[in-house]
Amino acid sequence: MNILVCVKRVPLTGGKMVLTADERAIETRHLGFTISPHEECGVEEAVRMVEAGGGSVTVVTLGPPEAEEQLRDAMALGADRAILLETDGSDWDPEATAAALVEVIEGEAPDLVIFGNESADSGGFQVGIRVAHALGRPIVTGLKALAVDDGQLRCEQEVGSARDVYRVPLPAVVTVKEGINLPRYPSVPAKLRARRKPVERRTPPSRPPRLEMVRLVVPESRGRQAEVLGEGPSAAPAVVELFQRLGVA
């Protein structure tokens, strides 16, 4: 099965979020970049399906030239090749992004297209659905399990504490969520192989955005999230009580 996974380069935040002076971007001077955990699981899932059943994994992104780094990361997890839809770094809205991806996917004609459930930065939840709609393919979102079964795709979607199971014909589009698998850490040989794998660069036709970003706002901090239960042995009763409350003891 040939699988195409779509990913997005986003800042790797961890500390306090700082905006640029014009409040239109996150200050990334001190930050590294990554893809969202959902997308990382998407790549892992695709690689596992191909390892088990044959085929190939192509990873695609739309982003600045530096997004090659994320494509290489994905190839270090096992994707075979990559396509970079190169932009000048400006923001593309979900509609324009989906349109650019549709063009690629039509050319590649993969059996399965995997997205993360939503991007880690803008969180639009849209691109996967727009792509599926444009291609006329079925889409199932928010998946926690995925399998090919008798030529069909078996999709498990988390609903409360239960799961809905869908069977869809291929070709299809899915969006997956973190937890569907535990992505591997890339090995050194895999990293080195990834450096030699092909990255095809294309320049997508730009479309005037219909969605305009006015400015970013960092939400009020929720304050201190950790509670100190005590120090040393005297903290033990409080810890036991907490464990009992959580039902783990």
């Binding site: 935040t13 961890g14 500390g15 306090k16 001077r29 001190h30 290489r72 090995s187």
Partner: protein
């Protein structure tokens, strides 16, 4: 209420390994009301200590750094945070094997046991997951270990707290350091201010920012060191402690690999230098990991992964072993690779303990605390003294240039004579163009470009029949022209560029008392006298040795070496009494040296002044006219020949050069370089040099410089000096000559300094103070036809005619003790100087 007390005996800023150690040792030395502040949380405030790889390889070519490391090893062991693993520095090339042989010599010279050269098969036995076919051998050090530097810091803080001497205030950012009349007054923080007259900056990569708050400079740059951690490694699955296999340093690729529990850590100094501005380090809140763990830049590590894969394919090539952690970690680099320790020259009471690695942290803490307490430390810190820099060496451009150049030499094969390539031509004497025209080969000292020899003298090599050196290493950064220049000087006369001298004046009503206080020798001398004198530490060791000219009743000029000049200036200024001013005149005056049997003829033809032996005796200085130039001439010699230092205002230097050159031509004058002045000329005469023979760990009696009686007046170190005179020295500085230069394969070898002096059987010589004998200076004595070594020997071996050996590249060469003490091997009666 503020968590900070209103006043403190001392404020230590920083709670990494260095700050914790300084605080602990200050408490042990009796300091009280110590306040330690860090902007981060404890026990890991987020500096470089928190992500350090924490391993210790003790052997270094620097005696000072080895001593600090060995003291740290002792302290880490006492704290029980020391896990010995052993370590191997592996060689992929024969050139590296030679460097490892040199490391054997350094280990023996500095007294580190448990080292040996190992074959690839022996490496494989110790490190079974290595591909031994990649290497040609290794250097195994049993004592290599991993330490828990965070735990060590916590224990040291707790000790000082338990003693009631220390208040620790984490999560408090210092916002200012106030000074008054050049001294520290208070430290300001977001949590309130604390009054104090002593501050220690132990803030690692942030140190320059803290120093700047007080108007001082700590010249370092944060730089990236990349490392990754891979795992879980199947072979380490049952690991019961952090490290069970020796640490491997893959020297030729500038990398290391070490077990870390079930993982393998791979670190590199091979990538491009990546420097950062201290002000651009993110805050603790902003940082994704810690402020000193920057995002990993994989492109810079690609080649390193290939190299690690070559060396350890079993682990690194295992597809199941993943990269779990990868960072660009920040560490501190300085312009000359050495730490920045001591009181800053700009601000009194403001101390620096920065640019220190985990391996030497506790030793540095102890030494700096001793220095703050006693005015000196057991381990002489002269190479690390923050006062060593000239202003041009504290600039951002210089720091970045030299740090970049040094970074990839972290595991490099660095020749003792190796010159910097970057940021040269900063301090140029007025003679520079003339020297260039004469084919000068320039070496740098203290930012100055100094001719080391002149290619225009190449013809003298044949004329004087000077031999070369067949081994490339021995001949690197050297030329036989040096020896030829030496012989021509002894034969005729030579002109030397001595612009790199550091010159400073002590003047005013307090000048005589100030000079008397710092100088060991009698300074109550007539105007026009030049006095060569040691400056002593309180404990009677050498703080410096230099010449002082008395130019007036209340005016003295100090002439000292450029390398240590700024530290000397600070020392004298620190001891200045009321009414004395200390003024640096280095950039106002320049110096030419004129020496050789024809020197008087040349000088006499240039001046109407009486320069006869009677009219201008030795050790006198006076102003004479040479053409339109008033020249301060000083009859003195560091090369053992008749002649003068000629000091002139710097803008008139070129005119003086031309006059001397023209007058000298009929006498066959040559230009001679520092190769003669610094080595061949002085070593034949047994002249000692600060930083080579002389330092704080040896005294005047041991150096055999206790001539004459002790002056009646008080001076720094007097009590100790008197005591040293009345007891037998533990070692005596001797001159040795090499009997046979032939190596095992028949190539003549010439040692370069710092080699161990041993018995003919190879046993090290250890004196009563536990110090080992090593070569302090090595060089040719062209006029005596011998290769000369200087070394301190224990009394039982300090016997003229005694047969010893020197170890060089693991081979032993027979040497003979030629002179015990300071008598010259050439012209011992000093007839030339006093002719």
């Amino acid at each position: 209420m503020s968590r900070l007390p209103e006043k403190a005996g001392v404020v230590v800023i920083g709670a990494g390994i260095v700050g914790n150690s300084v605080a602990c040792h200050l408490a042990r030395l009796g300091w009280s009301e110590i306040v330690q502040i860090d902007k981060g949380p404890l026990p890991n405030p987020g500096g470089s200590t928190g992500h350090a790889s924490n391993f210790i390889f003790p052997v270094d070519h620097s005696r000072e750094m080895t001593a600090l490391t060995m003291d740290s090893v002792r302290q880490y062991k006492e704290l029980d945070v020391f896990t010995q693993s052993g370590g191997i520095e592996v060689a992929r090339t024969e050139e590296r094997m030679e460097e490892l042989r040199r490391r054997m010599a350094s280990a023996k010279a500095w007294g580190i046991e448990g080292v040996r050269l190992v074959t690839p098969a022996e490496v494989k036995e110790l490190v079974p997951f290595i591909d031994e076919s990649v290497i040609v051998g290794g250097f195994h050090t049993e004592g290599v270990a991993v330490v828990d530097s965070l735990r060590a810091g916590t224990l040291m803080r707790e000790e000082a707290q338990a003693a009631g001497a220390l208040t620790v205030v984490p999560n408090a950012e210092v916002t200012g350091i106030d000074t008054e009349r050049g001294r520290v007054r208070r430290v300001r923080t977001a949590d309130g201010d604390v009054e104090t007259d002593t501050v220690v900056i132990a803030c690692g990569v942030w140190s320059p920012l803290l120093a700047k708050m007080a108007g001082a400079s700590i010249p370092l740059t944060p730089a990236i060191h990349q490392m990754i951690d891979i795992g879980p490694v199947p072979r380490f699955a049952g690991a019961t402690k952090g490290i069970e296999y020796p640490i491997v340093r893959d020297m030729d690729t500038n990398m290391y690999e070490r077990q870390d529990g079930t993982g393998l850590e791979i670190g590199s100094y091979a990538h491009r230098p990546i420097l950062h501005d201290p002000s651009a380090i993110p805050s603790i809140e902003e940082a994704a990991l810690s402020p000193t763990e920057f995002p990993f830049t994989e492109d810079d590590f690609a080649l390193q992964m290939e190299h690690a894969l070559e060396l350890m394919p079993e682990i690194v090539g295992d597809e199941s072993v993943g990269i779990k952690y990868a960072i660009n970690g920040l560490l501190s680099l300085t312009p000359d690779t050495l730490p920045l320790l001591g009181e800053t020259p700009e601000v009194g009471g403001l101390w620096s303990a920065a640019a220190v690695w985990v391996k030497e942290g506790p030793g540095v803490g102890r030494a700096v605390a001793q220095w703050m307490t006693h005015g000196e430390s057991e381990i002489d810190l002269q190479s690390s003294d923050i006062a060593r820099f000239y202003d041009c060496q504290k600039t951002a451009v210089h720091i970045r240039a030299r740090a970049s150049e040094a970074f990839n030499k972290t595991y490099g094969i660095v020749h003792p004579g190796e010159q910097w390539g970057s940021d040269r031509d900063v301090r140029l004497p007025p003679f520079h163009a003339r020297e260039q025209a004469l084919g000068a080969v320039f070496f740098e000292t203290a930012g100055w470009e100094r001719p080391h020899w002149y290619e225009s003298n190449a013809k003298l090599v044949d004329e004087y029949g000077v031999d070369g050196r067949p081994a490339e290493w021995d001949a690197r950064w050297w030329s036989p022209i040096i020896n030829a220049e030496h012989l021509a000087m002894r034969d005729r006369a030579a002109i030397f560029d001595l612009s790199a001298f550091c010159l400073f004046d002590v003047a005013g009503p307090g000048a005589p008392a100030t000079v008397q206080q710092v100088a060991m020798r009698q300074m109550d001398v007539p105007i026009g006298r030049g006095v060569y004198t040691p400056l002593l530490t309180p404990g009677g060791g050498f703080r410096s040795d230099l010449t002082i000219m008395r130019l007036g009743d209340e005016h003295f000029r100090f002439v000292t070496g450029g390398l240590h000049g700024m530290a000397d200036l600070k020392w004298v200024a620190d001891h200045a009494v009321d009414g004395a001013t200390v003024t640096d005149v280095t950039s106002a005056w320049t110096t030419l040296g004129l020496w050789g049997p024809r020197a008087r003829h040349i000088l006499a033809s240039l001046t109407s002044a009486d320069v006869s032996h009677e009219g201008f005796p030795f050790a006198r200085c006076r102003t004479i006219e040479i053409g339109p130039v008033q020249v301060l001439a000083s009859r003195i010699s560091y090369v053992g020949d008749l002649g003068w230092e000629l000091h002139v205002p710097i803008e008139q230097g070129a005119r003086l050069w031309d006059a001397v050159w023209e007058a000298g031509e009929p006498h066959g004058i040559i230009p001679a370089g520092i190769g003669v002045y610094g080595t061949t000329g002085r070593i034949e005469k047994g002249y000692r040099a600060f930083g080579f023979e002389l330092d704080g760990e040896y005294d005047v009696v041991e150096a055999d410089m206790a001539w004459g009686k002790v002056k009646d007046q008080d001076f720094v170190g007097k009590e100790a000096h008197v005591r040293q005179r009345s007891s037998d020295p533990a070692a005596i500085l001797c001159t040795l000559t090499v009997d046979d230069h032939s190596s095992g394969n028949g190539v003549a070898r010439y040692m370069l300094g710092h080699e161990p002096v041993v018995t003919r059987d190879g046993a090290p010589l250890i004196d009563a103070k536990g110090r080992r004998s090593f070569v302090t200076t090595a060089g040719m004595g062209p006029s005596v036809g011998k290769y000369i070594l200087m070394a301190y020997l224990p009394p039982e071996h300090a016997v003229e005619g005694g047969e010893l050996a020197v170890e060089y590249m693991t081979e032993r060469y027979p040497v003979t003790v030629a002179v015990v003490g300071s008598r010259a091997i050439f012209d011992p009666e000093n007839t030339r100087i006093r002719s």
